[in-house]
Structure formats: C-alpha cells, structure tokens
C-alpha cells in the first residue's frame, strides 16, 4: 500500500518491514498449529491433506492479517478530526498498483491450486480415487472382473439408518468396520435407499454413497486405533445417529478377528435408529412424520459404537 505514497522515507520502511516480518512469523506459527486442529492422522491420505491445509492456513493467515493491519492502521491513524468536514486528498486509482494486486492473488491462488492438484494426483495414485459405475445386476451377484480384484475388499451397505460391512473373501459381516493397519483396502459403497456419506474424519476421506450406483473406493489405514465413521450426507430423521466405529488393528489381530467372526451366528447389528424409533412410538407426542428405519442388519459381529474413540 505504501508504494502509492510518492517518496519512501527509511523509518516507515523499516517499520513496515518489521511488521511484515512479524506477520510472517505469526503465519508460520499458525500453519504449524493447524495440525492440532485436525484429528489424528490414520491413513496415507491424512498427511497429504494436512500438509495442504497447513500451507493454506499459513498463506491465509498472512493475507488476513495483512488486510486487517491496513484496516486497523487506517482506523487508528486516518480518522477525521472532530468537526473536520473536509474531504481527503482525492486519489482515484493507480494502474500500477491495480495490476500488482491483481497479479499477486492470481499467483497465490495458482500456487495453491498447483499444490492441490499435485496432492490430488498423489491421492489418486495411492488409491482413494473412486471408480463409479452403474450398479450392474450381474456384478451384484458376485462377479468382479479379475483386474479389479482388490487385496481386501469390503462391501459397505448404507441404509436408513445403519451401516453394514461385508467381507466377501471371509464370509463375515459386521456393523463395526475392522481394517488391518498398513494394508490397502477397497470398499464397494452401495446404498439401499437414499444418499449417504461415507466419512471417516481420521482418514480425511469422504465419499457420497449414491443409490443406484456402486462406488469403488480405496484407502490404506496407517495407525491402529478406534475411529468414527459418520454419515456425512443428510439421510433423514436419524442421520445424526447413523455412525459406526472403525477399528484399525494389526494384520494378525485382523486375521484372528475375521476367523472368530466367521464362526459366530448371525444376530441383529447396531442400529440406534431402530431403538429410538421404538421408544418414540411410546410417546404421546412423537413429533413429525418419519420414514421408519430399516430393520437392523443381520451380522456375525454387531461390535459397538459407544466405546471411547481416538477421532
């Protein structure tokens, strides 16, 4: 902004340089802090997303503070005196300045865009690139083309309002998602009724589940622990209660879990909506109309969604 003044004296220039330096320091500090605002990193995608977010936080903090500094300076230093009715010096514009402040945001956002496209591409190579295809009745009967046969595949069935996870290779089904750490996994996301969102914040990944389509979705968990899977696309009355737990465990633990689960008889899985719906029916004034929840899926392992989770 100061470049609009005709002659620069050294003292203001030093002050400005110091102030900009301070803003840079604050911005760098904020970009480091930004990692702490996010949940733990539990997938290969998470560090990439967080790195980009941290970069954006740094750039954003600097731009925000710079603009606010100008506003604060102007409000402190360029106030009209009381009873001063006069106008200020009429500056109608400055073409050079206008070109500069068109170019700077352009360069900045393009830098961010290039960074983001690179992250995008890396994410695509790593796996979490969804492959959408119309849900083919043939394929539904269990005929994956050979080249798409994944190391481990989990069929995720979203319903109003429950999640069911099927492990076709092991013949196991569950309402708690179990994954082996550091092993790529492919999900096949399908919905029986409306749109749902497959969202695991600790993995930084999200994909809408679209009825009528089957969406293949890959990821690799990197940290053992218990995380939340949340429905992220509004799906009706018990949308908020449509959550499941994701357990990331070591390879051997995962195998033994699968083996143990395969031996268990089918039983009702977790569906908070079904429980609440039953209680609601007893009330005298149950609220407005709702679609009844789908019956709880019949699974080998219901699991839990009330244990403490890492993110």
């Amino acid at each position: 902004m100061t470049s609009s003044t005709p002659r620069l004296r050294p003292l203001p220039l030093i002050g400005l340089a110091l102030w900009v330096g301070l803003l840079v320091l604050v911005s760098v500090w904020m970009s480091q802090q930004s990692y702490r605002w996010l949940p733990v990193q539990a997938s290969t995608a998470a560090p990439l997303v967080d790195g980009l977010f941290s970069f954006e936080t740094g750039v954003g903090t600097f731009v925000f503070l710079a603009v606010i500094s100008v506003m604060a300076w102007v409000m402190l230093m360029h106030r009209a005196e009381k009873y001063d009715e006069s106008d200020a010096e009429p500056i109608e514009g400055n073409t050079r300045l206008e070109v500069i402040w068109t170019a700077i945001p352009f360069v900045l956002v393009m830098a961010i865009a290039i960074y983001a496209i690179r992250v995008n591409t890396t994410l695509g190579v790593l796996g979490p690139m969804e492959h959408i295809h119309v849900r083919d009745p043939l394929e539904q009967q269990g005929g994956y083309p050979g080249d798409r046969l994944p190391p481990e595949s989990v069929e995720v069935i979203a319903r109003q309002w429950s999640w069911e996870f099927r492990y076709p290779n092991s013949g196991v089904s569950s309402t708690e998602l179990h994954l082996a750490v550091d092993q790529p996994v492919t999900f096949r996301l399908v919905s029986e009724d409306v749109l749902h969102g497959f969202y695991i914040p600790a993995f930084r990944l999200k994909q809408d589940v679209v009825p009528g389509r089957a969406i293949d979705f890959n990821l690799t968990p990197t940290r053992e622990g218990r995380y939340r899977l949340r429905d992220s696309q509004f799906s009706g009355t018990w949308f908020a209660a449509n959550q499941a737990d994701v357990v990331v465990e070591s390879g051997p633990d995962h195998l033994s879990w699968l083996k143990q689960a395969a031996g268990q008889p089918l039983q009702s899985g977790i569906s908070d909506a079904v429980q609440e719906y039953a209680e609601r029916g007893k009330k005298s004034n149950p609220g407005w109309a709702t679609v009844p929840p789908a019956p709880p899926p019949q699974v080998n392992v219901p699991g839990s969604n009330t244990l403490p989770h890492d993110a």
Binding site: F53, M71, S232, W288
Partner: protein, 557 residues
C-alpha cells in the same frame, strides 16, 4: 408506523399505502424490507432452537424430526424470505433514485413480484401445520430423501416447500427483468455506463446471474415436484433416475445465488467507503468491471459443491481452478476498498462500522473459501460445520452486515428521519461480537469432523458448540437495539436533510423522502463520475441551484 404524527408541511401519503398494491418503487422497497425483517425474526427464532438443541450433545430439546424440519425452514426462510427480499427492497429504493429514473420500468410487474413474497411466505410457514410437518430435507432438498414423503399425502411439507420455492423463483425473475431493463433503459441523461454508481453495476451483475441461473433451479425443482407427487422417476434410482442430476441443477443456480447476495453488498461497500472516508472509490472502473468477471466465473464453479458426490478427477481439478480464480476479481475489490480507506478522513459512523466489520468478516470468509475450493481439503471438510461456518461468515458476517450498513445509511433518505447513532453502535457491537462468537467455533468443529445437519453429536464436540450457541443467543439479542432504533427513529427521529452524510450521488439531490416520481420531468444531466470526493467537480449540471432549492425547502419546513 404512525407517520400520521409527522409535522407535515405537505399532505403526507397515508401509511396504509404500505399495505396496498402500490406501484411506487420506494413504497415497494420499504414493503420488501419490512416484510423481510418479519421473516428474519421467524428464521432467527428457528436458529435459536437449533443452537439450543446443539448446546448439548444429545438430541434432547426437540424430536429429531422436528429438528430436521426446523433447520430446513431456517435455511429456506433466511434465504428466500429474508436475504433475497431485503436486497430486492434495497434495489427498489436505490436503483431508480441512483440513476434518476422516476420508477422501475414495469411498476405493476414490480408490485406483483413483491406481493408474491407474502403469498409464498405464508405457504411456506403454513407447511408447519400440515400433517407430517414441514419439509425436512435441508434447503438443498436432495432427492431421494426429499421425495420419500413418509405419509404419502398429496399435500406434504415438501410439496409446499417446492411450490413456495418455485413462486419465489417467479417473483425473482419478474424482479430481475425489471431491474435489468430499468438499469439498461432508464438512466439519467449523461449517465454513461462508467458514470453509473457501483451499486447499480453490482445489482445489474447480480440480476443477470438470477436470469441465467434461476431457471435451471426452477426446471430441476419442477422435476422434483413431479417425482414427489406424480410418481415420475427423474431422480428416483429405482426407475432409472439419477439423484446426482438434481445436484447439478440445484448448484448451477445456488452457487451463483451466493453471488446474487454478495454482489450488491460489494456495491454497498463501494458506495459507503468513499462517503465515510471522504475519498473517491479507488479504481472505480476496475471495481465496476470486476462484478462481471465474477458473474462469468460464478457460472462455472458449481461442481465444487459436489466434490464428494462422485465426479471425475478432471472435473474436480477444473472446478477447483475456476473457483480459485474467482478470488482474483474479489481480491481486486477488497484491495480497492483498502485503497479507498488509505489516507482518507474516516468517520466511524454506524454504517461505516458495519461496512468495516462486514469487510473483516468477508476477508476471513474468503480465506476459508480458498481452503474449501481445494479438493483434498474440501473432501475432508465438505458437509461439516466448517462449511456452515464459512457460509455464515459470508451471509451473516458480510452480507447481512452490509445490509445493515445500507439501512442505516439510506434510512434518512427514504424515511426522512435520522436513526440514532448510540443504538446503532450498540447494534453493531453486539452483531460483530455475536457473529464471530457464533460462527468462528464452527470451523474447528468442522475440522474435527462434525457433520452439518446433525441433531446430536459426540461429546468431544461439546466445548465449541457451547461457545457457538452463546454467540447465537448474543446475535438474537443484537436485533433488539436494531428494532428499537428503527421503530423509534421512524416515529420520533430528528428530521433528515436531503444530504445528511454529505454524500455524492443522484439520490442525495432529492428531498428526504423523495417525491413519488423522484426527479419527475426534471432529471438532472450527469456530468462527472460518481464518488468525486475532494475533486470539487459537481456531479450534475446546475447542482448548486438544485441544492439551494432543497435547502430552501428544508428551511421552510
């Protein structure tokens, strides 16, 4: 509203004209604004219930169905019954007076467009009382949830919602045709395009967007209505339909809709900063043209709302880049405002405070907007409270604050009375603190992974939600000094002169309030650019004589 108590020197028109089919744009403008604030109170009350529910993790205040209905209606009322009508009210007041037209191009169409608002407003509010309750699928109304119709009745909350939104579209198109024609055809002699106030530029840009975008939503909504009531399957997967198609129709309009809202607010900032900084608008031509760059880019960004919906990678990258590019013309405007303020002689009046506060919030929203534009970050935070926070910073933090600035600034002109500064500053303080306390905590919540539209949440989100709720209640309180100010100054406020802020513009060469046909036959000829603060050039021919006459009139009164 008792304008009968005015110490009238000339026969004052009766206050009952505000309740009639009046074709005067200034009456219609005030009708729009007052009605919009009536709905604002209803929408705000719903927001209080939402934040009341979210102050605790469990779904304990209202039933989940009620919560879903309430958040849906909050969004719908605030957008279709508050922000669009209030901006159309400002358009009605400002466009004809700023360009020196006696009225809008089609005054009767204008009145019809206004009276559609209470009609569809009543329809929408009535949906609270139909069996099954109001629409509950969010203001996006994504199918298939929105076509589930649990009771199976022909008349459902969702059906009424769609009808109301369609009528709102009809009203907006009528308004847009009118505003665009008025600006193109009815400018004062000598007012070339580059002598037109920036508010008119931004209004023209915004209304152009309405004309291009709104029909797509209307088309999509008609198909949704058929799916709901006639059993078609445009979006029904069982019948071969595609639910994602609706999202394209919806966002093709509803993203530009945000620019329809924010562009006139840019106009307000561009009008007010020069007045209260006593300097010409920095880079007027560039600021004016940037509006149309925003229009062009705004039409090709809609897919950024659908990054997690399942779109191809090339589309994600393309729409990310277009979205990021939009920050360039927007940045140009922000820097131009800073350039206007720089070395000005600032007067921190109520309207100026609202502009500065609005700019502060807008810059913050711009930063989070860039974050949302980048696909990898968006994948994580889309459909979380991060988006809700970003959106409310834009709409409440920037747009509504800009609207308040405009109301305080032009109130003397169109009501003829001065609003009270003390109450105005209190209103500003409560709004600014309340908005930031309410909407800032939503960002960490979203980053942590709290989805939007939830009626219950995990306990780790409780802290920030309590803060947000406190902020919301503060915002609820903030409206009290505003209403007090408006009512008391309308009735008792000191009489306003024709130009209390010493501003430059055609509207300030009219008496306060202006006569029904504004300049009538004597439209002055514009001879210079707007915002000539400190330049000493008159805006119009014979400006001195006009002002002398106005001063004489005021002295006589």
């Amino acid at each position: 509203m008792t304008s009968a108590t005015f110490p009238a020197s000339e026969p004052k028109p009766s206050w009952t004209r505000y309740f009639s089919f009046n074709t005067d744009a200034k009456v219609i403008g005030i009708q729009y604004i007052v009605l919009a604030f009536f709905y604002f109170l209803i929408g705000g009350l719903l927001a209080m219930i939402i934040r009341g529910e979210l102050i605790t993790p469990a779904a304990d205040l209202v039933d989940r169905t009620v919560y879903n209905g309430i958040y849906t209606m909050h969004g719908t009322i605030m957008l279709f019954l508050f922000i669009f009508p209030v901006l159309n009210g400002l358009n009605n007041l400002l466009i004809p007076t700023m360009i020196g037209a006696p009225d809008m191009a089609f005054p009767r169409l204008n009145a019809v467009a206004f009276w559609l608002v209470p009609i569809f407003g009543t329809l929408l509010i009535a949906s609270f009382f139909v069996p099954g309750g109001p629409a509950y699928s969010g203001w996006w109304s994504y199918p298939p949830v929105s076509i589930q119709n649990p009771l199976g009745h022909l008349v459902s909350g969702q059906g009424l919602w769609l009808t109301a939104v369609a009528l709102s579209g009809v009203s907006s198109i009528m308004g847009a045709v009118n505003f665009v024609t008025t600006i193109i055809r009815m400018r004062a002699p000598g007012m070339g395009w580059f002598r037109m106030p920036v508010f008119c530029w931004t209004a023209l840009a915004a209304q152009t967007l309405q004309l291009i975008g709104l029909p797509a939503l209307t088309g999509g909504a008609v198909m949704l209505l058929f799916d709901l009531v006639a059993g078609t399957s445009f979006y029904r997967p069982e019948g071969g339909g595609d639910p994602v198609l609706y999202q394209h129709f919806f966002w093709f309009y509803s993203h530009p809709a945000v620019y329809v809202i924010i562009l006139p607010v840019f106009g307000i900032f561009s009008e007010l900063f020069p007045v209260y900084a006593r300097k010409p608008l920095f880079g007027y031509v560039y600021v004016a043209l940037a509006s149309f760059i925003i229009v062009g880019l705004g039409l090709v960004v809609w897919v950024h709302h659908m990054f997690p919906s399942g779109v191809a990678q090339w589309m994600r990258n393309l729409f990310m880049v277009t979205t990021m590019l939009i920050s360039v013309p927007t940045g140009v405007k922000v820097f131009a405002w800073l350039g206007t303020l720089w070395r000005g002689k600032l007067r921190l009046t109520t309207p100026m405070l609202f502009c500065l506060g609005g700019l502060f919030n807008f810059v913050f929203a711009g930063i989070t907007g860039i974050m949302l534009a980048t696909v990898p970050v968006d994948i994580h935070v889309s459909n979380t409270y991060f988006v809700v926070g970003h959106f409310h910073y834009v709409i409440y933090g920037a747009a509504v604050m800009g609207v308040f600035a405009a109301i305080y600034h032009w109130f003397p002109k169109f009501i003829g009375r001065m609003p009270y500064e003390g109450l105005g500053k209190l209103h500003f303080l409560l709004t600014f603190v309340g908005a930031n306390l309410n909407f800032l905590p939503m960002h960490p919540l979203g980053l942590m992974g709290m989805p939007r539209r939830v009626s219950s949440y995990d306990p780790e989100f409780a802290f920030w939600n309590v803060l947000a709720s406190l902020g919301a209640f503060l915002l609820g309180v903030s409206i009290i000094p505003f209403l007090l100010n408006m009512v008391s100054s309308w009735v008792l406020g000191p009489r306003a002169t024709h130009n209390p802020w010493n501003a430059i513009g055609l509207e300030w060469l009219l008496p306060s309030p202006p006569a029904e046909d504004n300049f009538g036959e004597h439209v002055p000829t514009v001879i210079s650019r707007p915002y000539g603060y400190g330049l000493g050039q008159p805006l119009v021919e014979n400006q001195e004589a006009i002002e002398r006459e106005l001063n004489l009139q005021e002295a006589r009164a």
